[in-house]
């Protein structure tokens, strides 16, 4: 099997990668830009760009954030546009200005401070670049773009404009994730040496079906074509098309592979992936993908496995698992999928001090099986279970949006600015090529750099 490899010496590559990572991932200081806001008593004028499903999820979170004025909404589909106007009016009793075209909105609207972009992936880069160049601070949903060059353009535009650009890897602002990384993994090193990382997003068939639309409210063909869609099916199901998105690995996997990189403080050195259309045979993207990543971290080698399935939800849903010599942390946006395990054995220090300090909670012991007996003499006793000491009491995206708007006010640093999002996302762009070519890809600095 041929390996796609660069001609850069490995040592140089690692050093350069480490330098890039060191700028943010390791040091945990991802945001370096701040934006001052005009004197409007802290009010931020916001435009909503894209009000489909994800746009509405973000809006529901933004409703809880004080000081936002939704001045304009933009969506190419009249139906979504009307919904956006209705949602904003219901919130602030004032109709926002509505636009079909982003350029018209940018040319017309005065006094906008920020835009929240939740358009299909292939529009992320053009929209973000346009808005940054128009002087707006941008919150853009992940994946940054459907191509790595599109993502690069976003970083360049953000840095050239001096405006903020937060990418929607919302776990980076989730207090459960931040607490786990800062207090448990880095602060108290409860995992010991992390040697393996697992992650998955298993989604059921019912959750993976094509989205249909009532023909009565469908868009006209000329509007669809103008904005890059060949028909309404493609508009509603852009995630299945190669020219419009990266498929399941970027749609679902990007969130979790970002956590691999963030928690390990490193980017992978290689990827080897496989995938196929096991069930949805007519779709352009694979319906399931499995990827292996190798990491060289300051604490040693780490192997990571990630799978995304769109054909079954069994097996624990979605989570990321960091497995170390002394403990394992399973973390997920779903609190019930989060678990912490302490390895048994005398060489593992007691975690009682963590309980006393309030950093962990004991997990209620599971009932013992009725049938006793050793199946295999080499079997390990079950590890001791623990839980995080608290939960997040907000919608999943709210803290990340709060962080963005606090940064717009100059009160915080971005938790996931475009450059650091790029460093973390870059390896994901090579998963599909590896699966398609059935070849491992050893990354070159050029491949992963801006």
């Amino acid at each position: 099997m041929e390996t796609i490899q660069s001609n850069i010496p490995r040592r140089d590559f690692l050093q350069r990668t480490a330098a890039g990572v060191g700028a943010g991932l390791v040091l945990g200081a991802p945001g370096i830009l701040r934006a001052a806001q005009g004197d409007r008593g802290g009010r931020i004028n916001v435009a909503l760009l894209g009000h489909g499903k994800q746009g509405q999820v973000l809006f529901e979170s933004m409703k809880n954030i004080p000081g936002l004025n939704f001045q304009a909404v933009c969506d190419i589909w009249k139906y979504n546009r009307g919904a956006a106007v209705g949602h904003v009016y219901a919130l602030q009793k004032q109709r926002p200005n509505a636009y079909e075209d982003v350029e018209e909105m940018l040319a017309t609207e005065k006094g906008l401070d920020a835009v929240v972009i939740a358009t299909p992936d292939f529009w992320h880069s053009p929209h973000t670049v346009k808005c940054l160049e128009a002087g707006l601070n941008v919150y853009c949903e992940k994946m940054m773009a459907n191509t790595i060059d599109g993502a690069r353009a976003m970083v360049h535009a953000a840095e050239k404009s001096g405006k903020l650009c937060q990418i929607g890897h919302q776990r980076r602002s989730n207090p459960r994730y931040r607490f786990t990384l800062e207090q448990l993994i880095n602060g108290n090193k409860i995992c010991g040496q992390i040697v393996n990382v697992n992650g998955q997003w298993n989604r059921s068939l019912s959750g993976s079906q094509d989205i249909a639309v009532n023909p009565k409210i469908a868009m006209q063909a000329d509007i669809l074509n103008k904005y890059g869609f060949k028909d309404m099916h493609q508009f509603m199901n852009w995630r299945f098309y190669r020219d419009l998105s990266g498929g399941a690995i970027s749609d679902l996997g990007a969130h979790q592979i970002d956590i691999f990189n963030w928690f390990l403080g490193a980017v992978p050195t290689s990827v080897f992936a496989t995938g196929g259309n096991s069930y949805f045979k007519e779709r352009e993207h694979f319906d399931n993908v499995m990827a292996l990543f190798d990491y060289d971290t300051p604490q040693g080698q780490v192997r990571a496995f990630y799978q995304v399935l769109t054909t079954t939800s069994a097996g624990g849903g979605y989570y990321e698992s960091f497995m170390g010599t002394q403990g394992t942390i399973d973390i997920s946006e779903i609190p019930t999928s989060s678990n912490i395990f302490r390895e048994t054995g005398d060489q593992v220090p007691s975690w009682n001090y963590l309980l006393e300090r309030g950093l962990l909670k004991p997990k209620p012991a599971a009932p013992k099986p009725k049938t006793a007996g050793v199946i295999d003499s080499r079997a390990s006793p079950p590890p001791e279970g623990f839980m995080l000491p608290g939960e997040m009491n907000k919608p999943a995206h709210q803290p990340h949006l709060e962080n963005f708007f606090a940064a717009v006010r100059g009160e915080a640093k971005l938790n996931c600015d475009a450059r650091h999002a790029f460093l973390s996302e870059a390896p994901i762009y090579y998963v599909n090529p590896s699966a398609l070519s059935k070849q491992p890809i050893v990354f070159t600095p050029e491949q992963l750099s801006v």
């Binding site: 459960r176 300090r357 309030g358 000491p389």
Partner: protein, 203 residues
């Protein structure tokens, strides 16, 4: 249940404090006749008073509980003795009373009732609305002693309606529990003539 010392039942009423010789004209034993009638009936008086108190408090508090609910209050977790700055919270559950929390029929019973063929559909929402206020009103009326016989009778009818519902759901323990309430109501009715501290003793 009349006092043997007393000539008539009416003379046994407490508060008249008749001298012993006045109620011994029918030649009852001398020792007995030395006890004032009201003192001799004190047991019945206390008995019915306790029954009224029990049944009244039971009904009033049950009615109030229909307005009770559990409210979750997020508290910041404590790490090293200080509130955490991460935004992690734990949910502390508090019992609250509020008109918005009202639930006549417990939520766990509502659905099973809707599946009962003998339960008229239109009655459920009506009964759900009436039950709490009815318990409150009847309990208060019994405590205050307003038409004690009638109010006890109405409370008995209410408990019969509850019993019928529990029979439909096959909840035998609850039926037995309500049965003890019925016995107490009957006892209170039987002792009604000894009622004291009543706003309206009639009926």
């Amino acid at each position: 249940m009349s006092n043997e010392c007393c000539k008539t039942e009416e003379s046994a009423e407490c508060g008249k404090n008749e001298p012993a010789n006045e109620c011994c004209k029918d030649g009852a034993a001398e020792g007995c006749c030395k006890t004032p009638c009201c003192v001799a009936n004190l047991g019945y008086v206390y008995g019915v008073m306790l029954l009224r108190l029990w049944l009244g408090v039971r009904a009033v508090q049950t009615g109030i509980e229909k307005y009770a609910g559990i409210k979750g209050v997020d508290q910041r977790i404590i790490i090293d003795g200080k509130p955490s700055t991460y935004g992690l919270t734990k949910l502390d559950l508090e019992k609250v009373y509020d008109l918005k929390q009202y639930h006549g029929i417990p939520a766990s019973m509502l659905e099973p009732f809707t599946k009962e063929p003998l339960m008229p559909g239109f009655m459920l929402p009506m009964y759900d609305k009436v039950l709490g206020p009815a318990l409150l009103v009847l309990g208060l009326v019994i405590l205050l002693g307003i038409a004690p016989r009638t109010s006890l009778f109405l409370l008995g009818l209410l408990y019969i309606s509850l019993t019928w519902g529990l029979i439909l759901l096959g909840q035998d323990n609850g039926i037995a529990w309500l049965g003890t309430h019925m016995i107490m109501i009957v006892m209170a009715l039987a002792l009604a003539k000894h009622n004291r501290l009543c706003v309206l003793k009639k009926w």
